[in-house]
Point group: C2
Chain length 322, copies 2
């Protein structure tokens, strides 16, 4: 008995829903402090109480209110994103030196953005710290596939066994996190080059934006670092239809190899739990959009479809460029 | 200045969200009684307090609890769906005779299903009464399109000006409500024949299930009958790619005519508010899945995508047939 498609989603979208059980949800929130920024009404993420207690909050930048369970960055209400980001950078550099959090040992020098209501940039912070604050993160996932007289096949890479997170698991053809200044399609082009050696002109000609998935992940041991940290995520999804002569190749040491999988082989690997959790759900989204999973053959069709498009209690980005 | 895509969604998905403002949401719920069935823990729909007060609830079938704001069908906990449906039918037939509710004058002799958690059938009720109980209803929407060297075009029908609901507005090529015993794809085949004169073999060959949209509609005057009644809805969505020689034709008197619209003409008609609200959102879903609306050209991309896949506080159907 392998994993059902709902099992796969349950592994990814793990934070409780208010509507399932309002009393449980409200009680569960007591495990967290709300991450706030002076001058912005919205809650930007949830910080585990145990993290709040262990973290060193420099008093010139932070106010911790244990009654209302908030942690507020106290920079001026009209501070610029740069000023807020500087306060965060100082805080996080200081914290990393204390060797207090396993997750901060994964320092990447890559910045993730936090947005105010309406999608405006509020601040940025070092990527590896984002699960400590429970902020929404953004990425891209592209599925390279071939569809011809031999049927539908997917280009599936296996993650290097040396990778810090989810070593040896199956992945999406192209996937990666979006840094602050990036826009989704440009991020896809960069990742497709780095991870799959696909040239820009091929990606521009063959990749189609087809939506996004969003889910509220709660980190387990496979993600590395402290467990139970929150990671609400949005992944912009692309279908990349390739002709059979275009073969993705590992472009860095993050990927071991690419193999062509049939739909049946992919379903089998999904049920066997071989895919990284969010990659599994990107496949479920592909299967739904391409008529492979239907209301008639998937008992939890509506639950899967609505939960893989979770709307967060936090403001999210607008990547509008026009 | 026409309507934005978010405006179009706001017209359809109108019930408040808990996460936007928990206090407002909780206060808003005080306007409703929860529709319950003895033997089932779940809330199945919300009934406006004014409807509860005006409706005649036969005491042999119903318990109205004004403290907890519930209206409960008191059939035995282990009653069959048929027994519950019979109690509802008697109640509704009686109520319709009173001429108390405008909406009950639209009696259709068509049954809508209510599901228990897990998707099992709980009972069925006359279609026109469903907004009085605020239960989730189900339908299908198919978009007929042509994509060839002349570009992408949609077959867009105009609703008959004599129609009870949304007269004269633009519609999706194929759309209709799903009765109790129907499954989505069979419903699509029926509606495609009735409304667009498309033969079954054409639909089977050309229609692809591509997901669903779901939204919490609050009825306005264009829907007919009492306003402010709740109508949470799931629409199974199909792309129907036709060759240029297949021309949909009105099959009944519900549709005035079909015309081929370019993408630009469709966008223009959307912004002008010419489409029935849920048909507009089916087009937004098509545009997103086909890369016409993107994160880069739609400022509210994430809000639109997550809200058009709303997860309800009520149990929903499983149309699994395997």
């Amino acid at each position: 008995m392998g994993k059902s498609n709902l099992d796969l989603l349950n592994e990814l979208d793990r934070f409780p829903y208010y509507e399932n059980n309002p009393a449980f949800y409200t009680a569960h929130l007591k495990n967290y402090h709300a991450f706030m920024v002076n001058g912005c009404d919205a809650v930007l993420g949830y910080i585990l109480n145990s993290v709040v207690a262990k973290f060193h909050w420099p008093a010139q930048y932070w106010a911790v209110d244990s009654t209302n369970q908030t942690v507020t960055l106290t920079t001026a209400a009209d501070a610029t994103p740069e000023q807020r980001s500087k306060a965060l950078a100082e805080t996080l550099t200081g914290e990393a030196k204390q060797d207090n959090f396993e997750i901060l040992k994964g320092w990447r020098n890559e910045m993730y953005a936090v947005y105010a209501p309406g999608g405006k940039l509020l601040l940025e912070m070092e990527r590896c710290a984002s699960p400590l604050f429970g902020i929404v993160s953004y990425g891209v996932h592209g599925t390279c596939y071939v569809e011809d007289e031999q049927g539908l096949h997917f280009w599936v890479p296996r993650r290097a066994r040396s990778k810090q997170t989810y070593p040896g698991m199956l992945d999406n053809s192209v996937a990666g996190g979006m840094s602050t200044t990036e826009h989704p399609f440009l991020c896809l082009i960069r990742e497709a080059s780095e991870e799959a050696s696909l040239p820009e002109d091929v990606v521009k000609a063959c990749a189609k934006p087809v939506g996004c998935i969003s889910y509220f992940y709660v980190r387990d041991s496979r993600a590395g670092g402290e467990t139970d940290l929150l990671q609400p995520e949005v992944e912009y999804v692309y279908d990349i239809k390739l002709s059979r002569d275009v073969v993705p190749k590992p472009g860095d040491n993050e990927v071991e190899e690419f193999k062509l999988y049939t739909v049946e082989e992919t379903k089998h690997a999904l049920a066997a739990g071989e895919f990284k959790p969010n990659c599994a759900v990107v496949f479920l989204d592909f299967f739904i959009r391409h008529g492979i999973l239907t209301a008639e053959n998937e008992p939890n069709y509506l639950e899967i479809l609505t939960r893989m498009h979770r709307r967060f209690e936090f403001p999210t980005a607008s990547h509008f460029t026009n």
